[in-house]
């Protein structure tokens, strides 16, 4: 094994693509995750159990199953895929498909964390806000959102990390096209099938570890800032 890390241009692309996919998936999922958590925690409505099951399903379902279902939905003959194809946005086997796969798989983790954050908010604070003249949307942004920021941060970090590692669903809907849809796990998978590429696979593994550690450190740093930000 060579001492230096060996990264080919395709590997660099895979790393950049992984970051892009994970970041886009997290940012896209955030408002939906927040809305879903809010509905589950604060609203009483018919079909709430169904929503909860639906949100949590990707957590227990094999990613390959999710990928296959997404393929049916987003494929050329799929309900959404056809519409998008008609307006000139191909999804399947592009990086956008990888984003959708990651967002779907990571969504339950995001919602769970935000939900925990919201559930830890003293209900009296919401009552106080409402009785002080704040309509519900004002209360949502001035009290619920800031007080669940730790949950939002934890959820985003988890989701980002999960997206970096997404494999099963991605390989089905986005394929494994170097430079286009090949993310770090897919690249490692390619290397792992040929015995001569151990060093290359290991290099990518080290990159993956570095990204994960960075996410954890960033999470702790921002969480500390939030905690400090309260002392004003």
């Amino acid at each position: 094994m060579t001492p230096a890390m060996q990264l080919t241009p395709d590997d660099i692309n895979a790393i950049l693509l992984s970051m892009k996919v994970a970041l886009t998936a997290t940012i896209l999922a955030l408002p939906f995750g927040f809305a879903a958590a809010w509905l589950i925690v604060y609203k009483a409505f018919r079909g709430k159990v169904l929503l909860e099951v639906l949100v949590n399903l990707p957590l227990t379902l094999p990613p390959v199953v999710i990928g296959y279902l997404l393929l049916l939905l987003l494929g050329r003959n799929g309900f959404i895929g056809k519409t998008l194809q008609d307006v000139g946005i191909p999804v399947i086997f592009t990086w956008k498909a990888a984003v959708i796969a990651s967002a779907t798989v990571g969504f339950p983790l995001l919602v769970r964390s935000i939900r925990l954050g919201m559930e830890s908010i003293e209900p009296g604070l919401i009552d106080a806000s409402r009785s002080l003249g704040a309509p519900w949307h004002d209360t949502l942004f001035s009290v619920v959102l800031p007080l669940s920021s730790r949950g939002i941060l934890a959820g985003s970090s988890l989701m980002f990390a999960r997206s970096i590692g997404e494999f099963g669903a991605t390989i089905i809907v986005a394929g494994n096209i170097p430079g286009i849809t090949q993310t770090i796990p897919l690249a490692i998978y390619d290397y792992a099938s040929s015995p001569s590429s151990t060093a290359m696979a290991l290099s990518l593994c080290i990159v993956a570890i570095m990204i994960s550690v960075t996410v954890l450190l960033l999470h702790d740093a921002v969480a500390g800032k939030i905690e400090k930000g309260r002392v004003r």
């Binding site: 009296g124 604070l125 106080a128 007080l147």
Partner: protein
Amino acid sequence: MKLSIDIEKKFSGFSLQFATTVEGPRTGIFGPSGSGKSTLVSILSGLQQPQRGEITIDGECLFSSCRNINLAPEKRRISIVFQQSMLFPHMSVRSNILYGYRRCRSAERRIHPDALIELLKLQPLLERDTLTLSGGERQRVALARAVLANPRLLLMDEPLSALDDTLRFQIIPYLKSVSTEFGIPYLFISHSLVEMQLMADRAIVMENGRIREETTPDRLARKKMGASRYGYQNLMRFSGAEACNGMYACRWGGNTIFVSEDPGGGESLFELSSREIILFRKNPEAISARNLLQCTVTEIFLSDGRIGVELTAGGETLVAEIVPRASEELALTTGSAIFAAIKASSFRRLS
């Protein structure tokens, strides 16, 4: 302010039925925990909905089940001072105080923050983090926040229950002065009779989700005297205290009262149990008790097998408690002249 309430709310195993009209600036709602007081607060403020009924304030309908009206909490202009202050932990004291004010229409802003900050002595706290405040400071901030929302009614939901005795009686003058100074009527909810006596002119007594009676806090205290563990608490405001022979001589109306506990400067509030007063038909001349007041009996009442004797001395009123046999032996009637002996150590300082 005129608040008409006629509502009904059922839960599993509990139902609240509340119908009355509240007028006047200081009304108390008294009852043990579980009597439905907090549910009533939630319903009045719009945080919970009753199944049936109507709530109107100064002619404006807040809730009506038959007319299908349910004004949102933010539109009711009813502020709450909670038992656990409920300050927003992610905001400074200043942002907390101004939370309601900023959301209040400028036409409805009658109270200016500076005036209130001064009245409640909040200036040194403004930039503090709410988590570093003491219990009493928290309640003062919560009060300021509620009042600055410029409500037409203030609901004080057991605002003193989480505080210790010393703090409780320090906060009461603030609660009262804010209401008087800015003309905001309040409903004061509590399970403490002494708090009722100090805060309310009228008391609505609740039990098991129903109104049991409407009375004055003093009438209520007299009624509960015999059955209470501590008797009737005479609340006495002393002034002009001076140290004298290891005690303190204070002015109470036209009387001088000796107390053991230091009353501090200015006006102080003491409580004296009706059971700590000994009555004499004639002047006992030499006794160890340091206070001997010459009084006139102005009322005699029965309370759970005990006799309450209302006494007047030097323009002030006091309630003593005796057993019926003692009353017979003293041949008490309204108008009788009598001597009341009270030990200096029997007075307990509240504030």
